[in-house]
Symmetry: C2
Subunit: 465 residues, 2 copies
């Protein structure tokens, strides 16, 4: 005390241990919880500094404006070959960034086998696998064709897809149709019952949905999502409210379309049994929204986060179609009876387009009951949303969260903020068995790999000189 | 300090001001937030003391057991005259405790006029009013006939009613069918469009619903309510989730019933437009539940809280059919544009059977978005539920609230606890215009009058000697 003289009052920044030690010695201490940006890494701080400029902020404001303005409307159901730009007879789309057969994960291989059988190119799984190895069929990401698919995300030419138009900005996005629970292609199952259901979807469900949608003059998806967020959905792993609203809104139009009564009944039954029906629409709506800022010069906003089960891929508005990749992360989750960690495939699917657009894991505060499915507590669900405000640049007034006093969902992930805070986007997700042919074994939570954001930051800095 | 000697340590009960004053004088104080039961009223404390006995606790445990065991299932739709026990051609049922024409509130008079027109007994509102005054028609509470109706709750002989059976305990309950929003009978409107809609409901909707319900082999209401509580409904003033689940579950059965396509379409359209459709089912389910403990000797549990717009009426298990009444309270709420406090009728309707059964206002923690309709904040919605745990004897494991860590809804209102704590049951409700013929003007919150509970407590003490 002799050196300083008199009473000591301290403002302590950073490490709380110093504050505690001073308090024990009787000093008055105000502690400020502060950490150096990017964990104090000099190279990253330099990159961040080079990107702290009006040009980027302005581009991001423009990007967010497009997100908030977007009005995704379901306008049709058509075969992929007809609807999706650049689709070809020998092209199979898949989730995540690009991947070759030899690096493809088990469930995606299973789904590819199922797609070959569905297309009638081969009669047996063995034959299908041979053909897939042979190079006869090309593989490209859904994301490269304005499309998205949950889990394996396989879309083959004959599969029907939802056509979603962003009415405010004119672009379109596509997604396949949800098969329901149990043994399903998207989780890598390809048995006869899987193919039979896909055939039914192609021949009966899709034309009926198309007729009803046309009869309705299109169906506003943003409105359904906004209501569902007030009804316990976050529109990624909880879709029961959105599906129920859709079914209830859609049925009068379907019944007005003049289809045979038995077809209407089959569709009503399918809608009543398929709680995740709306997931694929939510995804297409988010894709139509986020594509509207793809290639936006100077913007550090994320336009796609997606996983092929082998790698995680990130796209940023200012760097257009370039993929920033890292190994797909492990999912921490709840398993169905009989399954465990070792059975799980790493993170898989395009469904993280929902988090990219500010819902899904980002809106878990709206969906406390989801923790029964993905794990954690309702309090943690609130915290995830609060945390995501740290890395986003806006709150979406179209999508509000009752329990946060109707605050908007955290929207517009800024790569700079992710690096500065070290907070990685939260994603909730289904878990597929790592072997082909089995299917879903659980659901849980994961984080986007920070490595992808580091790569993107660097590239963006180069881009802007 | 001289008198006491040494250091003073204090445990302070009750008034915090004493603790504060001692703290200021340097004494160590632990404050216990305690209030004397029943606000310290000696007479009430004596009554409470006389009812603090095993016999009552045991009766209440039995009563709660019946509530938790109840399994309300929608089994049919039939005309009131056919379905409701004791219904007669010259009998009109209404909400709340008994009331005569001269004391009837405006919206209930309006609904009675509409019912006379619907039954074809008169051609004009003036004629209808004359007949209602004449004594030709008898008025009795729905509650006296195992029935409930929202707001005016008027059920006339030809009206179709839901038949809900408590499968676990065998008793049945009845409710009319929801007319939707706008000008509706239950809020006292009786114009030609109101009568026309009621006719359509009788001739088209009711037989179709009946056919679908039979096709489904009955519809489990408890399951729908449990799911809806995870989807932002509290099943009184928010029913959009329950209605959507019902519609989605019901449509395949309706379509399987072999009705003309145009009828199915009309029903689908009605279900898609009527967000409060499920309210009447929720009410009948709660009535079927709470009737199962009516007359349970020694029990201090509430079996009915209801309002006729003039008086509030309370029934308690141990005192059977006896009504304990007080003037109907004013509702504090949000008004539709153009309306204000002075236009509002006092509290009205049987729909507080939902709160009686532990949902509605008691489950507002499950329905934060409801505050946009009834006022208050999501935080207050949580607090209402927490407060209701103070006056109830159980938490219902069938109805859980995600944001309270899946705690069960506060169930089994104990008259003793209401008097001891001074906490009156919270009720959320629609607000009717006080004049007949106008309709709904808002929604809000109110409390059951404590006077009814005081009367019930006294009576119960007499009963038990």
């Amino acid at each position: 005390m002799g050196i300083i003289g008199g009473e000591v009052s301290v403002v302590n920044l950073g490490l709380e241990a110093f504050a505690e030690s001073l308090r024990q010695q009787g000093a008055k201490v105000v502690h400020v919880d502060w950490r150096p940006p990017a964990g104090g890494d000099p190279e990253k701080i330099k990159l961040l500094y080079s990107l702290e400029r009006d040009e980027v902020d302005e581009a991001n404001r423009g990007g967010v404006g497009r997100i908030l303005k977007s009005q995704p409307v379901l306008v049709d159901v058509q075969p992929a070959l007809k609807a999706i730009p650049g689709m070809r007879g020998d092209l199979f789309l898949h989730s995540g960034p690009p991947v070759t057969w030899d690096r493809m994960c088990g469930p995606m291989r299973g789904a590819m086998i199922g797609a070959v059988l569905l297309e009638g190119l081969e009669d047996s799984p063995e034959g299908a696998e041979r053909r897939l190895r042979s190079g006869d069929i090309s593989f490209e990401p859904c994301h490269d064709h304005s499309a998205v698919g949950p889990m394996a995300g396989v879309i083959s030419p004959s599969m029907p897809v939802f056509v979603v138009e962003n009415k405010a900005l004119g672009n379109r996005a596509y997604s396949n149709i949800n098969e329901g629970f149990g043994k399903v292609l998207r989780f890598g199952a390809y048995g006869p019952e899987v193919i039979k259901r896909l055939k039914w979807m192609e021949e009966t469900l899709a034309p009926a949905l198309a007729a009803g949608i046309r009869e309705a003059g299109g169906i506003d998806l943003r409105g359904i999502m906004a209501r569902a967020l007030h009804m316990g959905d976050e529109c990624h792993n909880r879709n029961v409210a959105a599906t129920s609203i859709f079914a209830r809104t859609f049925m009068p139009h379907l019944l007005h379309a003049g289809l045979p009564n038995s077809v209407a009944e089959e569709v009503a039954k399918y809608l009543s049994e398929t709680d995740h029906f709306f997931l694929n629409l939510s995804m297409a709506a988010c894709k139509a929204t986020m594509d509207s800022l793809a290639g936006l010069k100077g913007s550090s906003l994320v336009t796609a986060m997606t996983r092929n089960g082998t790698e995680f891929g990130l796209r940023v508005a200012g760097t257009g179609g370039e993929w920033f990749t890292a190994p797909a992360p492990i999912v921490k989750g709840l398993y169905f009876p009989g399954f465990k960690d070792e059975d799980a495939n790493p993170d898989l699917g395009d469904s993280s387009i929902t988090e990219t657009a500010g819902i899904g894991g980002f809106a878990m505060a709206a969906a406390p009951a989801i923790v029964q499915f993905v794990g954690g507590s309702p309090q943690e669900a609130l915290e995830y949303t609060r945390e995501m405000y740290e890395i986003t640049v806006a709150r979406n007034p179209n999508f509000t969260i009752p329990f946060l006093n109707f605050e908007g969902t955290p929207t517009g992930i800024d790569v700079r903020r992710v690096i500065a805070t070290g907070i990685s986007p939260i994603i909730n997700t289904g878990i597929a068995h790592r072997e082909p042919g089995i299917g879903q074994i659980g659901a849980g939570l994961t984080r986007a790999p920070i490595e992808c954001f580091e790569k993107a930051l660097k590239r963006l800095a180069e881009e802007l000189g």
